[in-house]
C-alpha cells in the first residue's frame, strides 16, 4: 500500500469552499449584530443565544443518532446557524423554556423530518419563530426597551412597526439614527441595522451570498413603501422618511441579508433569486400595511419558500449560446 497511484476522474483539485466554512462565515457575519444586542440589552441575550444554539445542536445530534441512525452532521455548523438566527429573532426577555421549544420545532419539525440539511423546504429558524409567535403571542411580543444603562428588561414597549400600525408614530420626527444603530424595541437580533449591514457586506465580500436576494427584497420594500407613502403623505420628506423607516424597522435587514438568503430554501438561479426577493419584499409590505401583524418578514419568507421549487423548475439560467 506504500506508493499507490490513485485513479479518479477530473477535476482533481477542489476549491477552498466547504459547507462548514460557509456556515462559519454566516456565524461570523452575525457576531457584530449580536455584540450590539449585548450592549443594548445586556448579557441576558447571550444566555438566550447559548440556549438556542445548544438546544439546536443537541436535538440535531440526538435525532441523527437515535432516529436517523446516520453519521453525525452537527459539525457542518448548520444547526449552530439555525440556533443563532432563532435566538436573534426573539425578544431579549423571552423565558428560556420557550427558546428550547423553539429549537425543538426548528430542528425536530422543520429540518430533520425532511432529511436534514439541504432537504427542508422551509427555513427552520423562521418556522420556529412563527410557531412561537402563534403559540406564545404574549411572550413573543413583549419587547424589552433598550436602555443606555443596559440590563433594562423590566420595561417593555412597542416596536416601531407596532407603533406605526397603531398610528402612534410621527414620521416627521422619529429617531432614524437611533433605530439604525439599535435603539429600538424588537427581537434582539434585528435592531442593530448597521451591524447587520456590516455582516451582510462580509457575506458579500466572502462570496457566501450574492447581492440578488438582499437587494431585491429591500429594493422592493423601498419602492412599495414609497408608492404607498406618496398616496398617504403630503411632503416628499415624509414619503422618504416612511420608506427609510420600513427598511430599518423590524426584521427587514436581518430577513433580507440572513434569513431569505438561506441556501436551502432559496432559488438556484440569479433570475429566480430576484423573483423570490421581489415576492418577499412585496408580501412583507402587504402584511405590514394591511395585515393583522405589524411585521410580515417571517410570513413573507415562508410563503416564498413554498414557491421556490416552482421557480427552480421554470426559471433557468441563461444558457451559453442563447445570445443572438
Amino acid at each position: 500500500m506504500a506508493n499507490r497511484t490513485i485513479v479518479a476522474s477530473a477535476p482533481h483539485i477542489h476549491g477552498p469552499q466547504s459547507t462548514t466554512r460557509l456556515m462559519g462565515d454566516v456565524i461570523i457575519a452575525l457576531l457584530p449584530a449580536l455584540a450590539v444586542s449585548v450592549y443594548v440589552y445586556g448579557w441576558g441575550v447571550l444566555g438566550i443565544t447559548a440556549m438556542s444554539i445548544g438546544c439546536c445542536v443537541l436535538f440535531e445530534s440526538l435525532i441523527q443518532k437515535f432516529l436517523v441512525k446516520g453519521k453525525q452532521t452537527v459539525t457542518n455548523l448548520s444547526a449552530v446557524v439555525t440556533g443563532l438566527l432563532l435566538a436573534m429573532n426573539m425578544p431579549a426577555n423571552i423565558p428560556l423554556w420557550i427558546v428550547a421549544i423553539g429549537a425543538l420545532v426548528a430542528i425536530g419539525v422543520a429540518k430533520m423530518p425532511f432529511g436534514g440539511l439541504g432537504k427542508n423546504p422551509f427555513n427552520p429558524a423562521i418556522v420556529a419563530r412563527v410557531f412561537l409567535l402563534i403559540a406564545y403571542p404574549v411572550q413573543m411580543t413583549s419587547f424589552a426597551m433598550p436602555s443606555t444603562e443596559g440590563f433594562a428588561d423590566a420595561y417593555s414597549g412597542a416596536t416601531p412597526l407596532a407603533a406605526a400600525k397603531a398610528g402612534l408614530l410621527n414620521f416627521g420626527e422619529y429617531d432614524i439614527l437611533g433605530m439604525f444603530t439599535g435603539n429600538m424595541a424588537g427581537s434582539f437580533g434585528e435592531v442593530a441595522t448597521l451591524a447587520l449591514l456590516l455582516g451582510g457586506a462580509y457575506l458579500l465580500i466572502r462570496r457566501v451570498i450574492t447581492w440578488h436576494i438582499p437587494v431585491s427584497v429591500l429594493g422592493t420594500m423601498a419602492v412599495f413603501a414609497a408608492i404607498y407613502g406618496a398616496f398617504s403623505f403630503d411632503t416628499p420628506h415624509l414619503v422618504s422618511n416612511f420608506a427609510i423607516f420600513h427598511l430599518i424597522a423590524g426584521g427587514a435587514v436581518l430577513g433580507a441579508m440572513f434569513m431569505a438568503t438561506d441556501y436551502v430554501t432559496s432559488p438556484m438561479t440569479t433570475k429566480g433569486m430576484v423573483i423570490y426577493g421581489i415576492g418577499i419584499g412585496a408580501l412583507t409590505m402587504t402584511i405590514r400595511l394591511w395585515g393583522a401583524y405589524p411585521e410580515g418578514m417571517s410570513f413573507a419568507i415562508l410563503i416564498m419558500n413554498s414557491v421556490v421549487p416552482l421557480i427552480n423548475k421554470y426559471i433557468k439560467p441563461r444558457r451559453f449560446g442563447s445570445k443572438k
Binding site: T5, I6, M268
Partner: protein, 446 residues
C-alpha cells in the same frame, strides 16, 4: 479586460513550479509505442509491419477516412510489433512498437533552425501539407487540424483565433512555446490565416502570462492582421467556445453548432508552431513540449519529447514520483486524465504530466447538497449541474436531455466549486454520454 460571459472559476494557477524552465530535449527512448488512435475520429491504419526499418518522420500509419490523422515514426529503427498494448488508462489499444537505432531522419525534412518566413503556397496546398504531417489540436482535444481548416460549403471564416490561454493550472508548455518559438508561432498563424482565407487573427493570452503577451505583441508588429489580446485570467477560458466569446463577443449556439457558425476558427498556440514546421520545414508531427510538474516533483521541466516515450521516463528524468500516494495526470488538474499505466506513451494531445501527491491526491468526503447554487454560478455553459447530476443519478434521461446536458464541456468548474464535495461531474459525464448515445440511436433510426 475581456473574458467569457458566464461562470468560470479561479483556481490557483500553480504555474510557478515550471514556468521558468526553458524547453529542453528529452533523451531519445530506446523503444517507443505509438497508438494508432491519438486523435478524435477513426484510428489511423498501420502501413508498416514487423521487421520494417523506419526513419524519423516517415509515415507509419495513414488516416482512415477524412476524420482521422496520419502518424509518423518519432524515432528511427525497426518495427518490432504492430499489436494491442495497454494505454494510459489501462485499456488495450492498437500500437506500433519501434526499437531505436540512431536518430536518422527521413529525406526532405529541414532540420535547421533557420526561420523560413515566405510562404507562397495556396490554401489547398497548405491544408494538404498539414494533413500529411498528421497535425491535430495540441491543446488536448486532438481534433484533426485539416478537418478544422476545411470550411464547410456555405460557411465563411472571418477570424482566426490562436489559443494561447493555457487556462489549465500547472501546465506551461504553451507558455514556454510562446516565449521561445514566438516567430515560428506568428509565421504559423499567418499560414493558418491563408489556409482559411481570413484577414484577421487574434492570439488570446491570459494576463497571468504578461511576458508572453509582451513578447508576442512586439513580434506581431511585423505581421499583417495579427493582434495579441490579453484576457482576464479565468478558467476555462481555453475552452474553444469560451475563448471565441472572450475574443469576439459571439457565442457559439448549442450543439450541433460549431465555431465556424459564428465565423471563427480556433487553433492552439503549439499547433500553430507545428503548422509552421509542417508547411515551411516539411517536418511532420513527431514531438511536442510536455510539462512535467507538481508541487512535489523535484525538478520540474518542459521537455521536448518524441511521441511514444513512456511517461515513466519523463517522470524519472524529473526526479521520480514522490513517496506515498500520487495521482499522475495526463494533462492538468482540472481536465487531465488520470493514468493507471505510467509506462504508456506520450501522445499528440499530452501537454503535460501533472503529479498531485499526498492530500492533494485525495477526494473530499461528499455530504448533502445544500443548494447553495455555486455550481450554477460557476458553470460556463449556463447549465444547472446540481440538477443534471441529480437527474442522471435517477436515470431520468428525458429530463437530462431537456436540460441541455449535451452542452456540457466537462470543464469541472461545478465539482471544483461544490462546498459539499459532491462528484457532480462524474454523474453529469455519465448522463451526457448516455444521452448522446440515445441521440445517436434516434438519428440512426431516422
Amino acid at each position: 479586460m475581456k473574458t467569457f460571459p458566464i461562470g468560470g472559476v479561479h483556481p490557483s494557477d500553480n504555474k510557478k513550479w515550471s514556468k521558468a524552465k526553458a524547453i529542453e530535449p528529452m533523451e531519445l527512448p530506446d523503444v517507443v509505442t505509438i497508438p494508432l488512435a491519438q486523435h478524435i475520429g477513426a484510428p489511423a491504419t498501420a502501413i508498416v509491419a514487423k521487421g520494417d526499418a523506419v526513419k524519423v518522420g516517415q509515415k507509419i500509419a495513414e488516416a482512415t477516412g477524412f476524420m482521422s490523422a496520419n502518424i509518423h515514426a518519432p524515432i528511427s529503427g525497426t518495427v518490432t510489433s504492430v499489436d494491442m498494448q495497454l494505454n494510459g488508462q489501462g485499456l488495450r489499444q492498437m500500437m506500433i512498437t519501434i526499437k531505436r537505432e540512431g536518430d536518422e531522419w527521413a529525406e526532405g525534412i529541414d532540420l535547421s533552425t533557420d526561420l523560413v518566413k515566405e510562404c507562397n503556397l495556396s490554401a489547398g496546398e497548405i491544408n494538404a501539407r498539414i494533413k500529411e504531417a498528421g497535425i491535430v489540436g495540441m491543446g488536448g482535444a486532438t481534433f484533426p487540424t485539416h478537418v478544422k481548416l476545411s470550411i464547410p460549403e456555405g460557411k465563411k471564416a472571418e477570424i482566426l483565433i490562436i489559443n494561447g490561454v493555457e487556462c489549465e493550472p500547472y501546465l506551461t508548455s504553451d507558455y514556454r512555446t510562446m516565449l521561445e518559438r514566438g516567430e515560428e508561432l506568428l509565421i504559423g498563424t499567418s499560414i493558418l490565416m491563408k489556409a482559411v482565407s481570413v484577414e484577421k487573427a487574434v492570439i488570446g493570452v491570459e494576463n497571468n502570462k504578461p511576458d508572453a503577451i509582451a513578447h508576442l505583441s512586439k513580434l506581431a508588429k511585423a505581421y499583417n492582421g495579427i493582434e495579441v489580446k490579453p484576457l482576464k485570467t479565468m478558467y476555462p477560458q481555453g475552452g474553444e467556445k469560451q475563448l471565441i466569446a472572450a475574443v469576439t463577443g459571439r457565442e457559439v449556439p448549442a450543439p450541433p453548432a460549431l465555431p465556424i457558425d459564428v465565423g471563427a476558427v480556433v487553433c492552439n498556440a503549439s499547433t500553430a508552431v507545428a503548422v509552421y514546421e509542417a508547411v515551411q520545414k516539411n517536418k511532420p508531427l513527431v514531438q511536442r513540449v510536455v510539462t512535467v510538474t507538481g508541487k512535489s516533483i523535484k525538478d520540474t521541466k518542459n521537455l521536448l519529447t518524441r511521441f511514444g516515450t513512456p511517461v515513466s521516463a519523463l517522470i524519472a528524468k524529473c526526479g521520480g514520483l514522490p513517496e506515498g500516494d500520487n495521482r499522475v495526470l495526463n494533462g492538468g488538474p482540472m481536465m487531465g486524465r488520470p493514468m493507471a499505466n505510467l509506462d504508456s506513451p506520450v501522445m499528440k494531445g499530452c501537454s503535460g504530466i501533472t503529479v498531485l501527491s499526498g492530500a492533494e491526491a485525495l477526494r473530499g468526503e461528499p455530504s448533502a447538497c445544500i443548494k447553495c447554487a455555486k455550481c450554477v454560478e460557476a458553470c460556463p455553459m449556463g447549465l444547472e449541474p446540481y440538477l443534471l447530476s441529480k437527474l442522471s443519478k435517477k436515470k431520468a434521461w428525458d429530463d437530462v436531455e431537456k436540460n441541455d446536458i449535451v452542452s456540457c464541456i466537462e470543464c469541472g468548474c461545478c465539482q471544483y466549486t461544490c462546498p459539499a464535495n459532491i462528484a457532480l461531474l462524474d454523474y453529469v459525464r455519465l448522463g451526457k454520454q448516455t444521452v448522446m448515445g440515445i441521440i445517436r440511436a434516434r438519428n440512426a433510426k431516422k
